[in-house]
Structures are given as structure tokens and as C-alpha cells.
């Protein structure tokens, strides 16, 4: 079922938590709301769930406006960050709770569906336990089963992985993604972890200060971030930025900063007159070359081997650029090195507004 947010606004007193956002989630799509804490992503989710009443704007599920409906009338399932399992009920009772209180479902049908939902997330062996007696990962699975047991139209997940350790997080990331596609349920999840958003979602809405800064597929978001905030927020290690002056040379443009002369593949789309821009280059789009071969030159500041790759920080001019290199590339602290940027992988942003210029 399609979810449509129109000029959705939430104020707490004078504080605007969500500021007239528009968002369309297509039927069967998996969308992430990504942003730093306090950006309004959870508030948005809780409005969709029906727990917060919007100050203004509309929420549509399909054709139906739902902002006046109670949570139970909206046909949603939700997984909370803390999982919010009922500690005094067994796993089976937890999963069957929505069926028990919600619709008229016969006991036999209820038991059948509880087992079905439990099997879907592989907790069918734990039905008699209580939440306190199972692991965090298992609790998460039970929470998923409870959210799905009433066969909702929409699944909402609030920071579903943040309470898990790294290994389990990786495992559940894949599992939730597979499950979502398998059931084909329209889903929205909230996260502050850009890696989770990129790996799991079909589309990611990056939020800041109650607004949607960008709404695109993970690939687009990564390759062509709409503004500097998005460029900085998405990707680890983060994109390198430096302020540069645009100078013409041999019929093309060169971004010049101390120690850098970067030839641009194309002129900025707008602001042709602008001479000062913010240049962004991702660490993996830089390569280390001999000192005089590249477009920039600096000194190796630190080398961080990460097994599959290594992160080399190079100091040049007043700034630092991070470069991801294969582990074989020899770089030692203090070495003079040159840097080369992959053509066409250079991002230009307006220095004051942060909007993308190319």
C-alpha cells in the first residue's frame, strides 16, 4: 500500500520537530528515514503510526486519509527500538497479543498464525520462553513476528538494529531486508546509521532539522548527493571537502587550493560566475601516485590498515584528505605523495548554501 505524506508538520510547543515534509513511499517499497538525532525522523514515524497527532498536513495510506485514526485502525505493525516486548508474557503470548486484542480471530486460527509468524523469523522453538530468557537478537525476531502477525499493510521499524552487537546487526540487516521483500510489505524504518540505510532500503530520505534534505536510491545518494550535508552524512570514511577557487586553464576549469590543482570534467551547472566553491571527493575516488604525478601533493599523516583496504590520511596545505587504497600500496608516515582524483567523481557545492553545483 502506498504511503503519502503531504506537508506533514509536528510542533512541540514552539519547537518545530517536523517541518512540512512531503514523501511518497510506493507500494512494497522499503524506505529509510536517515538523519542525526533530533532531525525529526522518529517523530515522523510516530505520526505515521498514529501515536503522535500531526500539527498540520496529511497522511494517506492508499487513498485513505489516516491522520485522525487511532493506531489500531491504521493496519500497521511496528517494531520498537527497545523491542517493547511484554516482559510478563511468553513469546507465544507476545506474538498473539495483537490478534487477541484486535480482531475477532478464533483460538485455533490464532495459534496457527502465531506459529506461522514465529516460523517466518525462526523463533518457533522459543514460544514458551519469556522475553527475559532469550537473547537480544531473538527478542528482535519476536518483535518482528508480533508486528507481522496481524498481516498489516505497512511495517514501521524504529531503529530496529541499534540495540544489537555488530555481528548480529549485520545478520539482522540481511534478514529484515529479505523478509521485507519476501512479504512485499510497504515498510518505513528509521535509523541514524547511514550504512543500515544504504544496505537495506530501496530509497533513503535524509532528514535534517525536520526537513527532507534528499530522497533518492542509495546508489544516487552516494554517487550524486544533492547537497553537502547529504554528501557528508552518507559514506564512511566521510567525503573529503575543501574550499577551492575556480580558475580557467587551457579551456577548462581548475579547482585551485593550497597544494591542489584539480581539473574539472565539466563546469558547474549553475553559478558560472562563482569563483569560490566547496569541492568534495570521496576517499575511494582518490589514488596515491608519485609526488609529482598527481593533481595534489602532500605528506602522509597516518595510515590505518583495515584488512581489506587501508585509509591513508594525507596532509596538504591547511587540510587533510583521506584516501582509501588497496592494502598493498606502500605508504609511510612522512612520505611525500601525489594524489589523483577519478575524473567525473568530483562534487562541487555552493560554499554558503551547500547545494550541489554540478
Amino acid at each position: 500500500m502506498q504511503v503519502l505524506l503531504e506537508k506533514l508538520t509536528k510542533k512541540f510547543g514552539d519547537v518545530v520537530a517536523v517541518d512540512a515534509i512531503d514523501l511518497r513511499v510506493s507500494s512494497g517499497e522499503f524506505v529509510a528515514l536517515l538523519g542525526p538525532s533530533g532531525c525529526g525522523k522518529t517523530t515522523t514515524l510516530l505520526m505515521v503510526a498514529g501515536i503522535y497527532r500531526p500539527t498540520d498536513g496529511a497522511i494517506r495510506f492508499g487513498e485513505r486519509r489516516v491522520e485522525h485514526l487511532l493506531p489500531k485502525e491504521r493496519g500497521i505493525g511496528m517494531v520498537f527500538q527497545s523491542y517493547a516486548l511484554y516482559p510478563h508474557l511468553t513469546v507465544a503470548e507476545n506474538i498473539s497479543f495483537p490478534l487477541e486484542v484486535g480482531r475477532k480471530v478464533s483460538r485455533g486460527e490464532r495459534d496457527r498464525r502465531v506459529r506461522e509468524a514465529a516460523a517466518l523469523v525462526h523463533v518457533d522453538a522459543l514460544l514458551a520462553r519469556r522475553p527475559g530468557q532469550i537473547s537480544g537478537g531473538q527478542q528482535q525476531r519476536v518483535a518482528l513476528a508480533r508486528a507481522l502477525v496481524k498481516r498489516p499493510d505497512i511495517l514501521l521499524l524504529d531503529e530496529p538494529l541499534s540495540n544489537l552487537d555488530a555481528r548480529l546487526r549485520h545478520e539482522m540487516r540481511g534478514e529484515i531486508k529479505r523478509l521485507q521483500k519476501e512479504i512485499g510489505i510497504t515498510s518505513i524504518f528509521v535509523t541514524h546509521d547511514q550504512l543500515e540505510a544504504l544496505t537495506m532500503a530501496d530509497r533513503v530520505a535524509v532528514m535534517r532539522d525536520g526537513r527532507v534534505e534528499a530522497y533518492a536510491t542509495p546508489a544516487e545518494l552516494y554517487a550524486r548527493p544533492a547537497n553537502r550535508f547529504v554528501a557528508e552524512f552518507v559514506g564512511t570514511p566521510p567525503m573529503n571537502f575543501f574550499t577551492a577557487e575556480l580558475r580557467p586553464r587551457n579551456g577548462s576549469l581548475v579547482a585551485h587550493a593550497e597544494g591542489i590543482d584539480l581539473e574539472l570534467a565539466a563546469a558547474p551547472r549553475e553559478g558560472g560566475g562563482a569563483t569560490s566553491v566547496t569541492v568534495g571527493v570521496r576517499p575511494e575516488d582518490l589514488t596515491i601516485v608519485p609526488p609529482n604525478a598527481g593533481e595534489a601533493r602532500g605528506e602522509v599523516y597516518v595510515v590505518e590498515p583495515m584488512g581489506r583496504e587501508q585509509v591513508v590520511s594525507v596532509q596538504l596545505g591547511g587540510g587533510m584528505l583521506q584516501v582509501i587504497t588497496p592494502p598493498g600500496v606502500a605508504a609511510h608516515v612522512g612520505d611525500q605523495v601525489g594524489l589523483r582524483a577519478s575524473p567525473g567523481r568530483v562534487h562541487l557545492f555552493d560554499t554558503t548554501s551547500g547545494t550541489r553545483l554540478n
Partner: protein, 290 residues
Amino acid sequence: MAALDIPSSPGRGIRPLRFTPYVVLALASVPIFVLYAWLVYSSFFPSVHGFTPVGAFTIDNWRFLWDPASFPQMRNRPPIIPLTINTFLFAAATALIVLLVSSMAGYAFSRLRFPGRRPFLASVLLLHSFPSVTLLIALFVVLRSLGLYDRLVGVILVKAAFELPFGIWIMKGFFDTIPWDLEMSALVDGAGRLRTWWRVMLPLVKPGLLALGLLSFVQGWNEFLLPFVFMPSGSQQTLSTLVRGLLGEGRFVDYGLLTAVGLFYVAPVLLIFIVAQKQLMHIYAGGVKG
């Protein structure tokens, strides 16, 4: 070897300071303990001079249980069994009302944002600090006009009302400790407020309910003033009024009988405290937030 010079474990050694608190507390408790001991043994001896029992061990003083007529003081009083039942009814009904109202009001104060919530909370606290004596006349008028004067129901209602402020605050504190997520989850799962309260919240504050229930029961069991004033006629009296009657009537007091009845009266309370110490402690674990 040098290693042997090191004490094996610092905790093992005898350290006089460690026992100091126990010694101080034990000394402070001696008078209380002596009083209870006196209560117990004087109920099993014909008489007691100061702290010394006189005569041989006897259960004569406990005759009030099976032969009350042999005591002149007991003759024009209701029999002990109905009195005990009355007292039990009074305490149990008080506890039930306190539990029901406190668990609902505490939930509302903890979770709902309604106009006047804070002033209401503050005034509940004010009521708690109101000495009940000052309200006796007003309560008499109210009970009379409602036709509840000299009836157990009336006194139960009054006693429950006096206990409610404490109960409401305690239960609010317990509800405050339950994460909001659980409640949101119940709402999303399709439960209404009432069902969320009953199926999700109440089971989670069970320790609080248990402790509050026991305390209210004990408060009701121990109450003297209200039954004494508002239930003057004999048939509705409670044990506390009987004990008081034995003390205040006639020229001499039969201390053997008095202590036996007194022990009979406090025994359930002592039993509750011994059995349920742990549960009662939860009251202090619940915490109270504004």
C-alpha cells in the same frame, strides 16, 4: 616466603568496625523488643510484676477465644469471632478500594496529560498530610446525611479515602518506571487504554500492588479512631475498639486478658511483615517522580 605475609583476603579478617552498626541498631531496638516480649509472656502468666511473671505458665488468659463469658469485661461485648471477621472485612475492603482507585488514578497521573494534573497531584499530597482528627466532625455530618453512620461500609470508605493519597503517589511512581515503548506498542497492537492498563501495565506493577495492598490492609487492621468514632454500636466494632474497651473500663484492668487479646490482635500484622518483608520493600524501590 614473602607471599605468606600478605593476608589471604582482606574480607576474612575480624574487623570490629564491621559490626558496629549492628551493635548500635541492636541496642536501639532493645526497648521495642522488650515490650513485645513482655506482651507475649504476660499473656501466658496469671500476673506480672514489673517485668517478672508471677505464677505458673497458663493459657487461662486465652479463654476469651472459647469461653468469653468467664471474663466479666467481655460479657456485654460482641463475641470475638464476629469482631475478628469485622476487622478483617474492614481491612480487606479498605485495601481493595485503595488498590483499585490507586492503580487507576496512579496510571492516569503517570500517563495522561490532562488539565489540572499538577495542581491535582499537589493537592493529593496535601490531603495525605491532613490529620484525620481534624476532619472527624465534618465526616460525621457527611456520613450521617448519607445514611452511612454506624455502618462498616461508611468507615471503610472514610479509611480508604485517607489511605488513597499515599497509594496514588506510590502507584504513580511505579507506573512512571514502565517504558513508554511498551504502551505505544500495546496501542499499535490494537489495545485500548483500558485494556493496555489491565493486560500490560498492571502485571508490570504487581510488586507495587502487592506491597500497597499489604500496607493498606495493615493500616485498616490497625485503625482505631475511625471505627471507634463512627461505629459506636457494638455489633459493628473491630478488634482495636475491643482492646481499647478492655483498657478503659472498670476500676481494674486485667492485664493477662488485655495482653492475650492484644497479641491476638497484632499477630496477623506481625505475620504479614515476617512473610512479606521483601514485597513491602518494593514500595521504596518504586520511586516517586513528579
